[in-house]
């Protein structure tokens, strides 16, 4: 069985990362996470708990499609459970926008007061839900951290390896460009862990594997489509040889696509998240690729892990969820196929 | 201002006289540290001073009563009087001590309101008394008054003059600006006269006449008194009639008629609610009962816009807050109430606005005579002229003047009286609210006296005298 907790020496990032781990309370990218298939084969069927079980899930903000899809996944999982005779409900709420740290905490506290049996939390920042998690611990409620904010004192982290996000994009771009050319990065806001890791993963991959690729510019656009477009407009003129732009999310990437289209140039644009609009855009041949982390399945995995945890199974600290690069070659492929999805085994 | 050079003796009452815009207020502002950049010297008891701000002047022992009422409406009367110099107990303000002290001053001034009242409940005249109380609060060696009586009625004026005499006997030096020359003779020892920013002369008040003063101020002869030059021209035709006007808790049972060609005055003490009645008629404040008729027809006026549509004009009593727009030029201010006349469709015709302004600049002898000058930087009296011009521009049938000559110099007053006479001669009706009895007596066809929100008497032209008016005014 995988070990719990952190032993950092074999982590990916080398000496610098070790340093980081000593000050950082928790960084999943440096943990020995395992994937859900591995977990299932080790632990068997999803345990059926006694009595009715009420799970509370808190997403960041439903204003964002990504989190609405995550919510949908919780619903799908709840239906599957109920179809298999499990008495489990999953309620999903979100904060009011990604700046509403206090509001998100209110939701968690409310769930604790309402005596939910388990919590699945995706915090806005690394710290804002910490007091709530402390209360949950006191009340004996298990807490699963569903990416992308990090909760140091949660029981389990479920999410994709964030750094890989950027690495996948970098790998794809360097391959398409044959290892040389100028690229630029549109960052979101210097905010949550995932956003930082996306950029870092991209840069580190290029530095290590594609020295011919030059990152000529890197600016933030506050996750705003219009600001990203403006940035790209300027860059395209400033760097006539610009070959690719990597964006921290799809919304910004779609703004950049508009700029690229109107410039008439052939510049690769890659986003992150895999929202519906990004898929459409790839189908139309506008956006070149996106890194999908499959929120619809991520939440199902998170739900499953929570039930296993509550059923007393021993769960490692980090569970990796699937992610994949979507481009014109696989955009029509069903997600199940891309990630090799298998339904969990339920008890009868 | 240029080459002003004179002395004030310790313990005297020294009047500063001059036309509107002569530089009187500016001179005081220099003395009190409100303008700190000037050439020349001010010395007090042989030490040269140059105050950088009001605080330094007050600390030095010289205090000032400002021309415009300038109070903090959110604070109580007492807090306003003590503002900046509150007595302290430890770190906190000693409110009890403060209110005792300020109440004593109010009593000395003969005020009816208390220190704990809010400014908002007071009339303009009462606010003026607070400004005076403020100066007394500082126990200053030198106190200057910039037109302290322009909003006061006789009773308060007399009380103030007594107090100034009392101050003088306590060795306090008083500088006194006024356009009411009678007051000069009552209290002043000497008077200095300014004209166009230049010093003219200093006179011993004893043994000279009003005419001498006026001559020095204006440089020519003017009729200094409010008298009707043209024959009376009141008709029988009612222009405006009020029937049983009432505003809960403010005034009630106000009924009167004003005829075309007539000047009807409202007299009364400060706080008689004359202003409230006029504002209510004009639609500026709500009324709770009664009916206004114009040219015999019932009208319902709820906003000033409707009042204008019915041919009414109101020249308000407080020029700063109700009269002019600060950033506007003279031309713009004069046009504001008559924009329809200066516009083609929705577009404004700048040329016509200037033309209109030029006309009134000449009519009213405005200084400086520039239509593009900001009204805000005019002297008090000149700003008043701009406001009167603004309402004359509307060319209405029924004009309400609330304290029309407040702060206006003798020469300009004569002009305004002449304008009023012209208006009634042209068949207009005038309602005048005034606290200056000579003006009321000299100009009116008829006078209604108010007291505490009620009409207490009506006097015909031949019954008018200071005694008869005061008799009614004091009744309540």
């Amino acid at each position: 069985t995988p070990k719990q907790g952190s032993t950092s020496s074999e982590s990916a990032g080398g000496a610098g990362a070790v340093q980081e781990t000593e000050t950082a309370a928790f960084n999943p990218d440096e943990e020995d996470g395992i994937e859900i298939g591995e977990l299932r084969s080790a632990l068997g069927a999803v345990p059926k708990l006694e009595g009715s079980v009420k799970l509370g899930a808190v997403a960041k903000a439903f204003e964002n499609e990504y989190w609405r899809t995550l919510k949908e996944g919780y619903g799908v999982f709840q239906d599957k459970l109920q179809a298999n005779g499990y008495d489990v409900t999953i309620d999903v709420s979100s904060a009011q926008g990604e700046g509403d740290e206090q509001g998100q905490l209110s939701i968690v506290k409310d769930m604790i007061n309402k005596k939910y049996n388990g919590l699945l939390l995706s915090p806005i920042s690394d710290g804002n839900l910490v007091p709530g998690v402390d209360d949950a611990k006191k009340a004996g409620i298990p807490v699963v951290n569903v990416n992308d904010g990090l909760i140091a004192n949660s029981d389990v982290f479920v999410g994709p390896k964030a750094i890989q996000n950027g690495e996948l994009a970098a790998e794809w771009i360097s391959e398409k460009l044959g290892g040389t050319g100028q690229v630029a990065i549109v960052i979101g806001m210097p905010k949550a862990f995932a956003a930082r890791q996306r950029t870092a993963g991209f840069e580190q991959y290029m530095a290590a594997n594609a020295t011919g690729i030059e990152i000529v510019a890197k600016q933030n656009a506050d996750w705003d489509r219009s600001k990203a477009k403006d940035l790209a407009d300027t860059w395209i003129k400033q760097y006539p040889d610009l070959k690719a732009i990597f964006c921290n999310n799809d919304t910004m990437a779609l703004g950049v696509v508009e700029a690229v289209k109107s410039s008439g140039k052939d510049i690769l644009v890659v986003g992150v998240d895999g929202i519906g609009e990004a898929y459409d855009s790839i189908r139309r041949g506008e956006l070149d690729a996106t890194i999908d982390s499959f929120p619809l399945y991520k939440s199902q995995i998170a739900g499953e892990v929570t039930l296993r945890l509550m059923g007393g199974q021993e769960i490692p600290r980090v569970i990796w969820t699937p992610q994949a690069l979507i481009d014109a070659t696989n955009v029509e492929k069903p997600a199940e196929e891309i990630i090799g999805w298998e339904e969990p085994v339920f008890e009868n | 201002m240029d080459g002003v050079d004179f002395e004030i003796r310790k313990g005297e009452v020294h009047a500063l006289l001059g036309e509107n815009g002569a530089g009187k207020s500016t001179l005081l502002n220099i003395l009190h540290g409100i303008y700190s950049q000037y050439e020349g010297e001010v010395t007090i008891e042989n030490s040269k001073i140059n105050f950088k701000n009001a605080n330094e002047a007050i600390e030095f022992g010289i205090a000032k009563v400002h021309q415009e009422v300038n109070l903090v409406t959110e604070l109580t009367v007492g807090q306003n009087i003590a503002l900046g110099y509150e007595p302290k107990k430890g770190l906190l303000v000693d409110y009890r001590g403060m209110y005792q002290k300020t109440d004593a001053i109010l009593k000395r001034l003969g005020c009816r309101f208390k220190s704990s009242d809010r400014i908002g409940t007071l009339s303009t005249g009462e606010m003026q008394m607070i400004q005076i109380a403020k100066a007394l609060f500082h126990n200053a060696k030198v106190i200057s008054f910039d037109e302290p009586t322009s909003a006061l009625t006789d009773k308060e004026v007399n009380r103030l003059l007594e107090i100034i005499t009392e101050l003088k006997s306590n060795g306090i030096t008083v500088l006194y600006i006024t356009h009411r020359l009678d007051e000069v003779f009552k209290i002043a020892d000497r008077a200095s006269i300014l004209r166009d920013g230049k010093y003219i002369c200093t006179l011993d008040v004893q043994g000279i006449t009003k005419e001498v003063l006026i001559n020095n101020m204006v440089g020519r002869d003017v009729a200094a008194f409010a008298v009707r030059h043209k024959p009376l021209c009141a008709t029988k035709e009612v222009a405006l009639e009020a029937v049983g006007l009432e505003s809960q808790g403010v005034f009630k049972n106000i009924s009167f008629k004003v005829h075309r060609g007539e000047i009807l005055s409202f007299a009364g003490l400060v706080g008689a609610k004359r202003t409230d009645v006029m504002r209510a008629i004009f639609g500026a404040d709500p009324m709770s009962g009664g009916q206004v008729k114009i040219h015999g027809k019932d009208v319902a006026i709820r906003t000033p816009k409707q009042a204008l549509a019915h041919g009414l004009a109101l020249i308000p009593e407080n020029r700063k807050t109700q009269g002019f727009v600060k950033n506007f030029t003279n031309a713009q201010n004069m046009a504001l109430a008559s924009m329809d006349r200066f516009a083609k469709g929705i577009f404004v015709h700048e040329g016509k606005i200037k033309e209109n302004c030029d006309y009134y600049i000449k009519q009213m002898d405005l200084h400086p005579d520039d239509p593009d000058y900001q009204t805000n930087s005019l002297s008090g009296g000149n700003a008043q002229k701009v406001i009167i011009a603004k309402w004359l521009t509307t060319n209405q049938d029924i004009i309400i003047f609330d304290e029309p000559t407040k702060g206006i110099d003798v020469g300009a007053k004569a002009e305004i009286y002449r304008l009023m006479e012209d208006m009634v001669a042209n068949g207009k009706a005038i309602i005048m609210v005034s606290s200056e009895l000579p003006e009321v007596i000299g100009m009116s066809d008829r006078v209604i006296v108010m007291c505490e929100g009620r009409m207490v008497g009506e006097l015909g032209r031949d019954e008018l005298s200071e005694e008869s008016i005061m008799h009614f005014a004091m009744e309540g």
Partner: protein, 323 residues
């Protein structure tokens, strides 16, 4: 010539600041001065410029409008939906303008008739309108805006000039004429300066205030539709935080937040200056974190320049006392 000079002396401060800024960036990075880059700056100023046109009017009355970002979002999703549903672009634009007028007018109503303070009334409505924008689409963006609408609002005019720039220039001109040459404009300044005196002058202050907010809604709606055309997608999250940028543009252009003072041209140049600054920082590759600092400092310096210039202008008045 001299009279033109005098006429625009109000805008002198901001024009000088803009020229200095462009010169400095041009020296540091000659690429900055290429026509395409300069054209880009103007093009990218359109949204903020349009918002600032309306906000300038409102600020002159002594008010403020924090809803512009949210109002934009409502217009974007509503008109976006109608367009996708097949509505004719011209009808959609007219409807959008009307919608802006109504939303803005509602703000004006709360302020003029219910006597709410502008800041707090529009702070509340900012939240309400945002909620409405989300509800209209359930949070999802409106996709695939028809090309004919996009061309109308953001296509090329005569092959060089984006039509969005034309829209901004038109809106600024109309705003200029309204402020300088109409009764309504005169009343806006008068109200912002001394509301009581204006009311006593027989002006229907409440009505004019409501219209001012409604017109702000109209220019906001135009901004929203240009954005919709530029991006081809209508997002209910659009415009967050744009209100502060628009207010900054007006303030940098010399409009006083105390009311009664301001000019449309100043605002226009203010919007351009802010965008020129942003593009300049991008072109120089200034670190994101330093950009925050630079932006703040430049806003403060630009506004301060305006204050200093006003002081110099009224030096003569001061001199009077000095003698």
């Amino acid at each position: 010539m001299k009279s033109i000079w005098k006429k625009f002396s109000r805008e002198l401060g901001i024009i000088v600041a803009l020229v200095i800024l462009i010169a400095v960036f041009g020296i540091l990075e000659p690429l900055y001065l290429t026509p395409t880059n300069l054209m880009d700056i103007v093009d990218q100023s359109v949204i903020n410029g349009l918002l600032a046109v309306g906000i300038t009017m409102v600020i002159i009355t002594g008010g403020i409008d924090l809803t512009v970002g949210s109002t934009m979002a409502v217009v974007i999703v509503c008109i976006g939906n109608l367009l996708v549903g097949g509505l004719n672009p011209v009808a959609a634009i007219l409807l959008g303008v009307l919608l802006g007028f109504v939303l803005g007018g509602l703000n004006g109503f709360l302020i003029a008739k219910m006597h709410l303070q502008p800041f707090i009334a529009t702070l509340g409505m900012m939240s309400v309108y945002r909620g409405i924008a989300y509800l209209v689409t359930g949070g999802w963006p409106v996709l695939s805006i028809p090309q004919n609408f996009r061309t109308a609002m953001d296509g090329d005019v005569a092959g060089v000039f984006p039509s969005s720039v034309v829209i901004l220039l038109l809106a600024t001109s109309v705003g200029y004429v309204i402020l300088k040459h109409t009764k309504f404009g005169t009343y806006l300044y008068a109200m912002g300066n001394n509301e009581e005196a204006t009311r006593l002058s027989g002006v229907n202050v409440d009505f004019n205030k409501i219209i001012a907010y409604a017109l702000c809604g109209v220019s906001t709606a135009l901004a929203g539709m240009v954005l919709l055309a530029k991006l081809g997608t209508g997002e209910p999250t659009a415009g967050q935080g744009y209100e502060l940028n628009a207010i900054a543009a007006a303030a940098v252009g010399g409009t006083s937040l105390a009311g009664g003072k301001g000019s449309m041209l100043g605002t226009f140049f203010g919007a351009i200056l802010l965008q020129a600054l942003k593009v300049g920082l991008v072109v120089l590759g200034v670190d994101t974190f330093w950009q925050y600092i630079a932006t703040g400092v430049i806003i403060i310096v630009a506004v301060y320049l305006d204050i200093v210039q006003e002081k110099i202008k009224s030096w003569k008045f001061e001199r009077k006392f000095a003698r």
